[in-house]
Symmetry: C2
């Protein structure tokens, strides 16, 4: 991986996450990365290929967070950690995380990415198992509900800039489990 190639990936990640895939032009990426536009196509074939490469990076960076949750033995704490995850990722890996949300609404890029991502499937499995250990009546439905909640919470974090209300919502959600 050359320095310029990394620079392109980094810039593409930032712009795709903040401004969307459809609305970010390859020329803008090149300009902001300080490279020629042709180089993008040399390295990644086309704009889709660039996004694919960004998402591969994404998967690598998400994995350690999932592992950390998997190691927690107390199922109650595991659920709390899953809830915290959305918040933590937003703080520590904002661009990667935000991209997962943005991508859903970009019609020209393949859908179902997040749902099919290995890190996401691992997380879902951990969640159901935790609810089951805690003897919830319908662990699958509980996880589905929690997923909806975290989807909404993630959207809120990205779209509102008020840290107080974000943290207050987070605590309130956690108090319910």
């Amino acid at each position: 991986m050359t320095e310029k190639k990394e620079l392109i990936l980094e810039t593409a990640l930032r712009l795709f996450a903040d401004e969307g895939f459809d609305t970010t032009s390859t020329s803008k990426i090149a300009r902001e990365a300080g490279v020629s536009e042709g180089l993008i196509f040399r390295h990644f074939l086309n704009k889709e290929g660039l996004m694919d490469a960004v998402l591969d990076l994404c998967e690598v960076r998400m994995n350690p967070h999932i592992e950390a949750i998997a190691e927690e033995i107390d199922p109650r704490k595991r659920i709390q950690k899953i809830i915290d995850l959305t918040y933590t990722l937003y703080q520590e890996e904002r661009e990667f995380w935000q991209l997962q949300f943005t991508i859903k609404w970009q019609s020209s890029y393949k859908q179902d990415h997040k749902k099919n991502a290995p890190y996401y499937q691992k997380l879902m499995k951990i969640g159901v198992d935790s609810f089951r250990e805690l003897k919830y009546y319908e662990p699958e439905k509980e996880l589905a509900l929690l997923s909806l909640l975290m989807e909404g919470f993630g959207t809120m974090m990205i779209k509102t800039s008020d840290p107080t209300s974000i943290e207050s919502s987070l605590e309130f959600i956690k108090s319910k489990y």
Copy 2:
């Protein structure tokens, strides 16, 4: 309002909702509406003006649904109706409703539309009041939580095509209130 003008609005609504504002070209709208592209600009000045007009329509169509909820006297049933609303709107006014979600992720159109829409603010007020009547400890936070849930649920409805899991989620959410 001439027939062609209405045709443009209708087509724009459908395409903006399904494919996004950024990714829908005025030429496509014109083609699918069976009018000349110039006519769009004649009637709506520019693409943003067209979206503004679509959103005005939106507001008009949303209002009756909100009124119907406001008339319910039992606060518990009122909450249930608020939860049902997302589902009902998706069935009956799919394009209008979907547009509210899509628009959030279209970087070139003004943000905060939904939050500022009169129909939405009315709905929020009804929600807080209902929780207060029901003696919930923190009505504002409860509504915020429910909003997150409905945001997630709305996203799910739009992005998954499995009616069974949608209805199951809806019932499960309602069972929690």
